[in-house]
Amino acid sequence: MWPVDQRTRLLEAALFAAPRPLALDELAVLDADATEDDWRRALAELSDHYQTEGHGVELAEVAGGWQITTLPIFAEAIERAAFAARPAKLSGAALEVLAIVAYRQPVGRAEIEDIRGVACGGVLRMLQERGLLEVAGRSEGLGRPILYATTPLFLELVGLADLADLPRTEELAVALKPLQAEPPAGAPEPPQPAEP
């Protein structure tokens, strides 16, 4: 059983919250009543506890101060898991640009902006940086604009084996306007509601 020394608990909390190793004189600010020897005892107690009570972390003396670090034996598993920053969701605008490129590739910026009605240089750059779009060449047209296409990572993320597996746009277009049947050729009357 660990003797619950309040100072040792404070030490653990402080070392945990600090963004860098803390030296003895920095610890002094935490508790005006404690001497350096008191802090040395607390450090020894905490270190002892981590060693004997089966923890995943240890107390390390680093750069003239003290720091809690994870045990090296777990380093590989943690590195493999790569808990980086939160994966970010794509914005609505980014999704729209992706959708246009997916169906029209290779496609230039002008055409994308024509369809969406707003500039999208920043979105295109971001999608390139994140590996979802790539430059597929240049158009033969005026100014030889850059053409964009989707990457294999894009297919992987949406879970498709091939671009041909994308839902057909015709189907989507029909799904969008379910109440409008094809008017008979040359018929002057307005579109008839579709039969249920």
């Binding site: 994966p87 969701k89 729209e96 169906y103 009605g117």
Partner: protein, 278 residues
């Protein structure tokens, strides 16, 4: 919040309470305000006003109602309207559009309340109803805001790890994306797609031969002439291009020379070494 003297005397018709701004009881129940950083240090002297104290006209109105211990279901609109006008004047908010809009709304309701009601068979719509609805809705949001502020304060007492071991150089995680989202985006795109405008491109061949004839005619007349002399009053783009091509062709053959005296000025055309009078 007012500090210092409030340069106001009670107006006739208003209750005897001083026109100081609601503070005290109303502000005590606002932990959210405690969390707010002041927009800037208030000036010393005179009366000090913190606009941050009220997050909007609804907030100010609610504070007035609370201070006056008014039943929200039966707001004495004439009294509250007067106090509101007075408050925004003292707070220096009488140029803020949002507060003025609320003042106008209150005065309109006040006027509507004065209209004689029609008979009992006609259901009477209380002109205060919409205002009450908005006040209650806002009060609910304020309560949630206070709850969130308290939760955030509690959370701020728990420090997370300050030192995160540098991640090995792992590329940023792939963004979250699924097919449903993409399909929704396609639908949005389809909806916003403009109807295609079909334009036919008409071939308009350059008339270099005609232009060459015109150049040679001019050279026969004069030893040198300006670029503008070659083109008519309002040349079409095809005329310009035709003339340009013919001039370049003739210059290459040595029939004429082209000279520009200064940058960005029209150039002169002159007979060249190979010029032969036709």
């Amino acid at each position: 919040m007012i500090a210092g003297p409030t340069p106001h005397s009670p107006e006739p018709g208003t209750p005897a309470t001083p026109p100081a701004m609601p503070g005290g009881a109303a502000t005590g129940a606002r932990p959210g305000a405690a969390l707010a950083e002041p927009a800037g240090a208030p000036a010393e002297g005179g009366f000090v006003v913190s606009l941050e104290r009220y997050s909007g006209p609804l907030d100010l109105l609610l504070s007035l109602i609370k201070r006056e211990e008014i039943d929200i279901w039966d707001i004495p609109i004439a009294r509250i309207a007067d106090q509101f006008l007075q408050a925004i004047h003292v707070l220096g908010l009488d140029e803020a559009a949002e507060y003025l809009e609320m003042a106008a709304r209150l005065l309109r309701i006040k006027a509507q309340m004065l209209l004689p009601r029609r008979g009992d068979e006609e259901p009477w719509e209380d002109p205060r109803h919409e205002l009450v609805r908005r006040l209650l809705e806002y009060q609910q949001i304020r309560e949630i805001t206070d709850w969130l502020a308290a939760a955030a304060r509690r959370r701020a007492e728990c420090y997370v790890r300050g030192w995160i071991p540098a991640a090995p150089d792992v590329p940023a995680p792939p963004p979250v994306l699924d097919l449903t989202e993409l399909v929704e985006a396609v639908e949005r795109v389809l909806a916003m797609m403009p109807d295609p405008v079909i334009m036919r491109v008409m071939p308009r061949p350059l008339n270099v031969e005609g232009a060459t004839r015109r150049v040679l005619d001019l050279l026969a007349e004069r030893e040198r002439f300006g670029w503008r002399d070659l083109l008519g009053e309002r040349p079409t783009i095809v005329d310009v291009l035709s003339c340009l091509v013919s001039l370049l062709e003739l210059a290459r053959a040595g029939t004429l020379t082209l000279a520009q005296r200064r940058p960005f000025t029209p150039f002169d055309v002159a007979r060249g070494p190979a010029y032969q009078a036709a």
